[in-house]
């Protein structure tokens, strides 16, 4: 895994908390002792091109995706469709990644993010992958940092 500054975990947890609070008025809790598992999931990934070479992923179960999307859009959950969920998830990930990179880097160093992409295969803990489980509204979602090939 690419060397990350020592404060990367704190930076990621803060970025997730701020993003959910500002965009969805929700407060996820970092839950490192819990494990994410879901039968049907929404997943999204975003490449971080520079200066780190990695990919950030978010994955959550379908029901939580609908709850978050309905909150962000101020709509009834029943009126939320899959495209809205995926778009909301992508925007959440994009914002989290930006806040994470800003927190990690010196003020005079710019960074470059890719465009969010739908992914069905999110990594689990292991070589080249660091996972960060969060609890929210009685459910779970997971952020992962995946090492990119050099």
């Amino acid at each position: 895994m690419t060397d990350l500054p020592g404060n990367y975990q704190e930076a990621l947890v803060t970025a997730v908390a701020e993003t959910f609070e500002n965009l969805a008025f929700m407060e996820p809790e970092y839950s490192p002792d819990k494990e994410f598992a879901a039968a049907v999931t929404y997943g999204c990934s975003l490449a971080i091109h520079a200066p780190l070479q990695s990919t950030m992923q978010i994955v959550m179960d379908e029901e939580l995706g609908k709850v978050i999307t309905s909150t962000v859009w101020s709509r009834q959950k029943e009126s939320v469709d899959e495209q809205m969920c995926r778009d909301t998830l992508a925007e959440l990930l994009n914002t989290i990644a930006g806040r994470f990179m800003k927190a990690l880097l010196p003020a005079d160093q710019t960074f470059q993010l890719g465009l969010p992409e739908v992914t069905e295969n999110c990594c689990s803990s292991g070589t080249g992958c660091r996972v960060f489980p969060f609890s929210l509204s009685g459910s779970m979602f997971q952020i992962a940092l995946v090492e990119s090939a050099a």
Binding site: V72, W73, M84, A90, E91, N94, A107, Q109, T110, G114
Partner: protein, 134 residues
């Protein structure tokens, strides 16, 4: 009625920006959504605009390229451009301001942050609503 172009490849982000603009007093504006810089530029060339709020990281044409094209256009270069981006940091913000951005805001944008940089537009909107000449 003011025309405000909101450019972002995310419909969620566009909705969020429009909601914030409505909250700060621009609910009477006509919002023109664009999914990328190319669409935004075409909209502005065709219909003009009083304000562009744009993301930076978009397919087809990114926000920085859009900003350069607007500032290079005799027809469009007076349109204020507010960049709303997840890629905000002091170095990047300075670059964008040199390119002509009126302001650079971090995602997710808040009504308070928009109000701070769009005070001039709100005041002209109020004058317009009062029946004064705009």
């Amino acid at each position: 009625m003011k025309k405000i172009v909101v450019a972002d490849d995310s419909t969620t982000a566009r909705m969020f920006v429009i909601r914030c603009l409505e909250i700060i007093g621009l609910s009477g504006a006509e919002f023109l959504p664009a999914a990328n810089g190319k669409e935004a530029l075409e909209l502005m060339k065709k219909d003009g605009a009083d304000l562009l709020v744009t993301d930076l990281n978009m397919p087809e044409m990114d926000g920085a390229t859009l900003l350069k094209k607007i500032k290079a256009s005799l027809k469009l270069n007076e349109i204020p451009v507010v960049v709303v981006t997840s890629g905000s940091n002091p170095a990047k913000n300075e670059e964008l301001k040199k390119l002509g951005a009126h302001a650079v805001l971090e995602k997710p944008v808040s009504p308070a942050a928009l109000l701070e940089v769009l005070d001039f537009l709100i005041h002209t909107e109020e004058k317009t609503n009062d029946g004064s000449a705009w």
